[in-house]
Amino acid sequence: MRIRPRSTAVACIGAVVALLGSACGSGEASSLSPAGDPVRGGTLVYSYNTEAQSVDPATCAIGIGVGPCQAVYGALLDYDLETGEIEPGMAESFTTEDGKAWTLKLRPGLTFSDGTPFDAAAVAFNWGRILDPALLSPSASVAKTIDWEVVDPTTLSVTSKEVNYQLDFGLTEALAYIASPTAIEALGADFGNNPVGAGPFTLTSWARGTEMILDRNPTYWDQPRPYVDRLVLKTIPADDQRFNALQAGEVDVMAVTVQKYAARAEGAGMKVTSAPLLGGTGFRLSHRGPLADPDVRTAIAKLIDNEQIMNAVYPGEPVASGFTPEDSPLYDPGSAWPERDVQGAQKLLDDYRSRTGSGDIELTYVLTAGSPVLSQTAELIQSQLQQVDGLRVRIVPLEGAAFAAAMTSGDYDLIVSGLGGTHPDNLYKVFRTGGSSNNSGYSNPTVDEALDLTHTSNDPAVVESAYKTAINELVATNAYRFWRHARTDLISPANVHGVEVAYQYWFRPELVWIQQ
């Protein structure tokens, strides 16, 4: 424990106060009255370790960029991680009978903060813009699967080219953000830094690398929300620093992916909300070269020792024993990783080599450079894989762009990759043959069939079972392997209410209120 003479004194005094307080009947360190009804006012400060590049609705649908976009534009539909339901957001409803013909109903009378009407034509404009190849929109792969037509100002008729009952998920992220067409046309390339939307907040100022300040949008449709007057997004790269800021009251919502802060926060009387995300920290296996052979992949799976990695690199955190965590609705015992078996792995490799007559197998392990945690994990994995004869691993740390290039071109054997995202539909684009994020060359008819079923079936039970089938098959064929479940914790002091994980690193700020 840290020895801090000043704080020891404070702690002593605090202990006395707490004792006195408990003698009076209330045992809580923070004497807050029960929450009561939401009140208006205050500034909410959120902090994570990176920030968005731009607030352009066409490019912000993934990762950290979602935050400011959701704040400024609001999402057409919202995905509730707890219940797994998709709920109305800026749009009133998005319904279908047959999974092919959908109807999007908007709320009447909505306007953007510059007065332009938020109508079906605006939605059509934004979705059309996503298709523009020059904008390099990651949402284009979803937009290409549908056609749409303006029926009347509050109705858009959407036709999915293939039957896809999961299409509504697309309107919670990829196609969720609608910006003012007038402003887009007026500002052109500068729009990303001067966004105009109809969401709960408007962008006031942005000091890149430091903080972004957003103010309450008085014309937001869902009055009296947002409750807070101001939302500040701060970038604080070091986790410890961020936590200190939280404790000092400089930050109200801290996002963090490492679990050691949750325990410390709860001990300090703070609230922690978290949600299980898809996948975890691990690597994707390519399906080319020697890794095209299932025996080689199985051998690798048998050599990885999750426990050793977690003990060394993430001490104290739970080890992922399978693809899905036990508290996930998609949990299935069939998704447990193969048992560690060094001799079995050696045998498989020997068989492979005698079958194909090849010599030592050399694999590249690609990771992003500059992260000591990832480097340590890489070195551990290298030593785990090299304990058998005939396997050599070359660690290739690459810079940001070089890493992205290797990933998208499939130029790797093993590559560090989180699956990312909240909704299991993300499995489709990564593992289905021809999926837009399928760069490992994975192709499995069982998985394809199961994933297609998740799109074509209207029955939640069937969909859930299909996902489980797909996941079990992915584990059995060693497409992916991780040792730590993805999880984002949002930590906030006791007087901040309404914080729930809604996206990978983000919440819904319009629901948050601060008790004075």
């Binding site: 590049q53 523009d132 190849p133 390339a189 890149r208 690398g209 070091a238 620093q241 992205a404 290039a405």
Partner: protein, 315 residues
């Protein structure tokens, strides 16, 4: 005569800047791998790639692209960052104040320490202060900035919890938090500058104190502090100024390590993000700005120095 010197220096300046720009351009061109890697989304189609190449001006031959960039640059347009769409000049102007503040404060701190120590060491060469100072200088020069920074963090931030570990608090959030977030980075940077200034001052003082006008001042009965600080320091002031100018020019491009270590939003961290993101227009722009600063300050030093230093004029 003066005009000849100015013209010569201007010509040199321009050619150096041109060479720097060309070299950067060529360097960025010879990247193996995909130039669009950081902006192309997953599942990018060939149309997207073609549109991106058009949009970012990647079509056309090398000379075409270079001169097109040069033409815009001369009109003040350095293009837009590929990743953020922000105009390069805006990005640079946003980050420059942090780096400038860091550099300037470091030099000031270095001066604050170096003047008393250097003057006294020169006054009493071989004495206790001189020996200790020389020893400490040797030690300081052998500790690289990243190691020094980490050690300072360990002592002041981790152990004593007196200062923040990393991070930048802008001035708008209060003067004291702002200063606190700057203390460790400035000290780290100032360490090596201090050594240079001390050595310069010391040697200068030793030489100056042997001059006639000092002996005559002493004969006139002036007190030692007065002689040291007013008379002996004056000739050195010019060289000190020139060294400060050169240091500033060098520091503007040289704060990368400290900024990375302390997560400061300055030019250093921007350039690393730009390089690793293959944001070549941003890299090109930053290198140009930093080179301009360095070259201009050096030229200023070269030009004004003979004007200021009486010893050179009379020689």
């Amino acid at each position: 005569m003066m005009y000849r010197a100015v013209a010569r220096h201007a010509a040199k300046l321009v050619s150096v800047l041109a060479l720097v720009s060309v070299t950067t351009f060529l360097l960025l061109e010879t990247i193996p791998g995909d130039r669009l890697a950081s902006v192309l989304p997953e599942g990018a189609t060939p149309e997207m790639r073609a549109a991106a190449e058009e949009r970012f001006g990647l079509n056309g031959s090398l000379p075409e692209r270079f001169f097109s960039w040069l033409g815009s640059a001369l009109q003040g347009d350095l293009g837009r960052s590929m990743q953020s769409q922000v105009p390069v000049t805006d990005s640079i102007l946003e980050r420059l104040p942090v780096t400038l503040e860091l550099a300037t404060l470091s030099i000031l701190l270095a001066l604050l320490i170096a003047i008393p120590v250097g003057v006294y060491s020169g006054y009493r060469p071989g004495g206790l202060v001189d020996r200790i100072a020389t020893f400490l200088c040797s030690i300081t020069l052998s500790i690289p900035s990243f190691l020094l920074g980490v050690l300072l963090v360990f002592v002041f931030a981790v152990t004593l919890s007196a200062l923040p570990v990393t991070g930048w608090t802008p001035l708008s959030e209060g003067l004291v938090p702002h200063i606190r977030s700057l203390v460790l980075p400035v000290v780290t940077l100032a360490a090596v500058e201090t050594v240079g200034f001390i050595r310069l001052l010391r040697n200068d003082m030793v030489a100056t104190l042997q001059q006639d006008f000092v002996l005559s001042a002493r004969a006139r009965g002036l007190s030692t502090p007065r002689i040291l600080l007013v008379h002996a320091l004056r000739p050195s002031a010019f060289s000190l100024l020139t060294v400060m100018g050169v240091s500033l020019g060098r520091l503007i491009g040289g704060t990368v390590i400290v900024e990375t270590l302390f997560s400061l939003p300055g030019l250093g961290t921007l350039v690393i993000t730009a390089i690793t993101g293959r944001d070549f227009l941003l890299v090109q722009g930053i290198v140009l700005v930093v080179a301009v600063a360095y070259v201009l300050l050096n030229a200023l030093v070269d030009l004004t120095y003979p004007l200021l230093d009486p010893r050179v004029r009379t020689s």
